[in-house]
Symmetry: C2
Subunit: 330 residues, 2 copies
């Protein structure tokens, strides 16, 4: 088994010094004929530079860490997709890690990132994360938070959650619903907290009581939902805080075999592929995921390149309401 060729091998074959090869590789000017000989040698040997060695020497790994709750949530898989493409364009590879909504697991993954010396991190922080924990875990490494705001001291790209929830609640109110219930899996998650605040505020302004249907996991949430639906104090309308929750609501409708008319009016956060195809078509607040991820990667790479912005930047993008039928529109 022959070893992988190194710069030295290339250098020898091309009759130049190793540093000339290195220069050529990095696009620094080299004499034309040396360039040709080097290129030939590289082709002949099938040489591929070793990123780990380069990283060690230069202190930059050309990798970025992406830490999210799970990839299987459509919002995040879309996000990862976008981040990967952007990173790829800039010559960086993505190290993908998940924290499964666990603060402890997140700590482990931050340490992982640290060991791998990623140049920067895009993070959807687990509930309970603090700026201090995170920046202590990654001293000197740029981090941008997505989806969940934790501190104005940290670069963040998020939805304007309060506003969006306000808009959503007002819309439901305009349809004449009074007993509007929020449905959420884990209210301690930052984005959901803000959505809840926007809702509470709007309900308060209208002298209406707030309602919360909540459970730590989707199994229990479905149970909570079905019991609520059959109780005599059932709400007028539902405001779902995430696509997963929306699906759980749909499942609960289905479980009770509620007809289209018996279903509660529903408005949900996050758009998804089949949202327009369920019955009735789902009204949602869509997140501008593409834009968000572009902002996030831009911010991150600016930080990595070390130029420009010094103070933390929080980018909050408006949600886009898409009223189909489920909210009561026609």
């Amino acid at each position: 088994m022959k070893k992988r060729p190194t710069v030295t091998d290339v250098a020898k074959l091309a009759n130049v010094g190793a540093s000339t090869v290195s220069r050529h590789l990095r696009g620094v000017s080299v004499s034309p004929d040396a360039a040709i000989r080097i290129s030939e040698a590289i082709a002949q040997l099938g040489y591929h530079p070793d990123e780990t060695a380069r990283a060690l020497r230069v202190g930059r790994t050309r990798t970025i860490g992406v830490i999210i709750p799970q990839v299987s949530n459509m919002f995040y898989s879309r996000a990862v997709q976008l981040i990967e493409e952007e990173a790829s364009k800039r010559g960086c590879a993505v190290i993908l890690l998940t924290h499964q909504e666990s603060l402890k697991q997140q700590g482990i993954q931050l340490a992982t990132i640290r060991r791998y010396r990623a140049d920067g991190v895009i993070l959807a922080p687990a509930a309970g994360s603090t700026l201090e924990d995170i920046s202590a875990a990654l001293p000197g490494t740029p981090v941008v938070a997505i989806d969940r705001f934790i501190s104005s001291e940290m670069d963040s790209v998020v939805l304007r959650n309060r506003d969006a929830a306000r808009v959503a609640t007002e819309h439901l109110l305009r349809h004449g619903y009074k007993r509007i219930a929020c449905v959420v899996s884990r209210p301690e998650i930052a984005s959901f907290k803000q959505r809840w605040e926007g809702y509470v505020e709007t309900m308060g302004l209208n002298h209406l009581e707030t309602l919360l249907i909540q459970a730590p996991n989707h199994e229990q949430l479905r149970y909570a939902l079905t019991s609520t639906f059959v109780s005599h104090s059932r709400p007028d309308a539902l405001l779902s805080f995430s696509n997963r929750v929306t699906q759980t609501i749909l499942l609960a409708f289905d479980e009770l075999a509620l007809s289209r008319e018996e279903r509660l009016p529903l408005l949900g956060f996050d758009d998804f592929d089949l949202a327009s195809l369920v019955d009735p078509p789902l009204s949602v607040i869509r997140q501008p995921t593409e834009n968000m991820m572009r902002h996030a990667t831009d911010l991150l790479f600016r930080r990595i390149e070390g130029s420009e912005p010094v103070e933390p930047k929080v980018i909050a993008l408006p949600g886009q309401p898409i009223y189909r039928k489920s909210c009561g529109c026609s």
Copy 2:
């Protein structure tokens, strides 16, 4: 800005040699009091070992590459999720790359993997991939193919596509449908090819003509579908080859505002969250994704560890038919 601490720093503070620190870190026996002093020093300095340096020295990076068409397809996002968890358990990080169904892009990503010196790769090969291309791009690096079979010389974990398609076609036949059409986006993709074969075979056995509805992208596919649906030679039933295609079919139904009764009977590959919630509930061939990914990671890590299996192993798992209503069942 103080530099990151190194083994040497730890060694000095603990009054031992660097190699002793290294040994301790890797769990090799060290005298008890040295161990204590080292641990203290590590904690005090906030030392984290540098994977890039270790990788350079030792020749193993503790990373695995995962190359898939896109993360945003539910099948793959689920797969990535599973792989990440498994890799994490084994102390490896995942480098995530996508090839967008482009052979050229796949080549680029294979080269990326090579530069980063990943210890192994899990790959869903783009259409047109050959064993030779792939192993030439990654000499000495274990690769396991998932979802798409390209050669029995390469470790692979796939669905028993022909059988599954046979079962699906027979099921549709049993409902009395004769003009069964396959719907597929890119027939050149290995798994779809095999599904097509299973279908052709079954139709042939029953002296029935084969029908194909196909278009290179989902936009055009939807168009092809709607025109087919309104033509007088419309099929009796549809066999969809992937979850994305199934969604496109649903979209086409919706576009034509076909009522539940007017919709064509449909059986699709891949189960997904909302499959049971659309109207009528979707019948599908489910892939045992979890099992598949466990096999894939097992295979890969066995190869990486260098022990055991020498000859390539192809694992083909049966699909699980789930008959809801869309296929004509009730």
